[in-house]
């Protein structure tokens, strides 16, 4: 529990801009998993017109189209998020949100843009979109297999200060080196949609444990049903040669 306040605040950043692929669901999952355990949790929608608060416990960023991604990057440069990261807040960023946190990324117009530099990575366009089920064996974190759906046109190259989230078993992930995502401190970037935390409750709980400490397990039979189905589908389509 944070010393400041007993309410855990989950900030969903710019859902209007970074919400193209249902990633706002990650914030819903985090909030509900705290509430179901008796924590006082609040989902804070941060619209693009507002400054980014620096005092929330978890920040969630999602995927978005190219023009909104550029606009989101400009708005995020107002230091609220950087201050939160310095303070040790947890950040979970997906796809465009992940790319924004890197040192640079390249939009569809081909122009390289500076990112926020929170993560040591750079994203360049691949030329074709990577669309399909993505399965990742976590390496940086002690977690079971991660399942999700990727839909992006970027290749993300990790620098020396960034550890990959895991190895790609099915799909493309970062598109280079056979790895997916990045973990630096309490900041996690990934290409997993689904939303990722709906499909991977262990990852959701790990992020929450970085805020509130160890957590009791929840009854997750419904989610386990979905995980089993998606993993089976991903592995069987890989065998059938349809993994991309």
């Amino acid at each position: 529990m944070t010393a400041r306040d007993s309410t855990i605040q989950i900030a969903l950043l710019f859902p209007e801009l970074l919400g193209t692929y249902g990633d706002g669901g990650n914030a819903v999952v985090l909030t509900q998993r705290l509430r179901w355990r008796g924590f006082d949790a609040q989902l804070v929608h941060v619209p693009v017109v507002d400054p980014v608060p620096s005092t929330c416990d978890v920040y969630v960023l999602g995927g978005g189209e190219d023009a909104p991604q550029t606009l989101a990057t400009e708005r995020l440069a107002d230091h609220g998020l950087a201050q939160a990261v310095d303070r040790g807040a947890v950040v979970f960023a997906v796809c465009a949100g992940f790319q924004i946190l890197g040192r640079t990324f390249t939009g569809a117009d081909g122009e390289q843009q500076p990112g926020l530099g929170v993560l040591d990575c750079e994203t360049r366009p691949k030329g074709t979109r990577q669309i399909g089920e993505l399965v990742v064996q976590p390496t940086a974190l002690d977690l079971p297999l991660l399942t999700g759906f990727e839909n992006h046109g970027g290749i993300t190259e990790l620098g020396g200060n960034a550890a990959a989230l895991g190895s790609v078993l099915v799909g493309a992930g970062n598109g280079t080196g056979g790895v997916e995502g990045v973990v630096t401190g309490k900041v996690v970037g990934t290409y997993l949609h689904g939303p990722a935390l709906a499909r991977n409750p262990a990852l959701a709980d790990l992020l929450l444990s970085w805020v509130v400490g160890a957590l009791e397990p929840l009854e997750d039979a419904v989610v386990e049903g979905l995980r089993a189905e998606r993993l089976s589908e991903a592995f069987s389509s890989r065998r059938a040669g349809r993994s991309t």
Partner: protein, 409 residues
């Protein structure tokens, strides 16, 4: 000449397809026609008065409204009522012998196909409904669609009728010389927050919107107010009572009536005709299944789900939700998290379809209790005990269900 030969070979293919019981065969025939004469549409469309209806949601309904309105107004109309809304479907319709006596073609047109078809049409009436995220793994970005509309309308003269409350549609339409804007509202706003022209923020109030940085703003024009259609001076043109429910269908009817006016139909005649449209390709119809009267509702994307959930708010009948994620549905159902399923709390809910597991997880986090059904949707409906049931399904579930119902009828 080439087109005439190609069209007759196409029709022969259609007949062969029908004879071998492979369906109607008209679209496969049209593919043959297009293979032999790639510019067939230019010739086939020559001499036709054409009206097109395009947008993410409401295409089939609005096409049905406009067809009914123009027919009531004395026009002899053909329409691709089976929803074959790509080039091949349009070619199939216009090369069919059944169309010879008609003088107006009302065409439902896929939103990405529209820009490629416009050059073949001589000053068409073009109805633009709305644009929102839909099957993103197939269509790519929604702004790209608006930008292609814009480029095509700048090049090809047309009489455009466009939804003034949708910033993407407004931007796409405003490149045309002749646009009539109709304010019909916009239920789903999440794709209308970033200006399509400059990328900056769109501000909005209940009845207005404007870009915070550039000159793009809501244009004035006709207006839907309650169930009344007003002209730009605020005079009531007609009252709308379409035969299918929901606020979104009032919006579709308003756009169809204004389009019909451009084609010479009196607004009251056009509006009257929409009252008789009670079901579109099986949607909105109520059928008896087992012990229940089941209303069949189709939603293909978050905006469509938003419309349907708004429509059934406050009702208490049980709801069966069914989701597939085949290619035609979009293979990624993560849009489920964009839909406010929390609104169904307290209702009896069944989660079904090939992606019932995704739906069940979404409902779990929405704190909506549900039964998960992995079998055939119609099997579950046959064993329900409730007198009235709503089925909300996405595209391929709905298509399978209506086919099964036709076969068992």
């Amino acid at each position: 000449m080439r087109t005439r030969v190609a069209a007759s070979l196409g029709r022969a293919t259609s007949a062969a397809s029908r004879a071998t019981k492979r369906g109607d065969g008209s679209v496969i025939g049209a593919r043959v026609t297009l293979l032999l004469a790639p510019h067939a549409l230019d010739e086939l469309a020559a001499g036709w008065r054409i009206a097109t209806v395009s947008g993410t949601n409401g295409k089939s309904t609005t096409t049905a409204f406009l067809t009914a309105a123009c027919t009531a107004g004395g026009r002899s109309v053909v329409s691709n009522t089976e929803g074959a809304n790509l080039r091949s479907g349009v070619v199939a319709l216009l090369s069919s012998r059944r169309t010879r006596d008609a003088d107006l073609a009302v065409l439902e047109v896929d939103e990405l196909a529209l820009p490629t078809l416009l050059p073949s049409f001589e000053h068409p009436v073009v109805v633009l409904l709305n644009l929102s995220r839909d099957q993103l793994d197939r269509f790519g970005e929604v702004r790209t669609v608006a930008s292609r509309w814009r480029a095509a309308l700048a090049m090809n003269p047309a009489t455009v009728i466009a939804n003034a409350d949708d910033p993407l549609v407004t931007w796409g339409a405003s490149a045309a010389e002749n646009v009539t804007f109709v304010g019909v509202g916009l239920g789903w706003r999440l794709d209308a927050v970033s200006c399509p022209a400059c990328g900056e923020r769109i501000e909005c109030s209940d009845t207005d919107w404007w870009c915070s940085a550039c000159s793009l703003r809501r244009p004035s024009g006709h207006q839907l107010s309650g169930d009344e259609l007003l002209d730009p001076a605020g005079k009531v043109l007609t009252v709308l009572r379409p035969g299918v429910p929901g606020r979104h269908n009032l919006a579709n009817a308003a756009l169809a009536v204004v389009a019909a006016m451009k084609l010479g139909v009196e607004p009251s005649v056009a509006a009257g005709a929409t009252e008789a449209v009670t079901s579109i390709a099986g949607r909105y119809q109520t059928v008896a299944i087992g012990r229940s009267q089941v209303r069949l509702l189709l939603a293909k994307n978050p905006a469509g789900w938003h419309e349907l959930l708004t429509m059934i708010d406050g009702e208490s009948r049980p709801v069966l939700l069914a989701i597939n994620a085949r290619t035609a549905d979009g293979r990624d159902p993560s849009w489920l998290w964009d839909v406010e399923f929390e609104r169904l709390r307290g209702r009896k809910v069944v989660a079904a379809g090939e992606r019932a597991a995704d739906l069940a997880v979404r409902l779990h986090y929405a704190e909506v209790d549900c039964e998960v059904w992995h079998g055939d949707v119609i099997e579950r409906l046959r064993t329900l005990d409730d007198p009235l049931v709503d089925v909300l399904a996405n595209y391929t579930v709905f298509a399978d269900l209506t086919r099964q119902l036709r076969m068992s009828a």
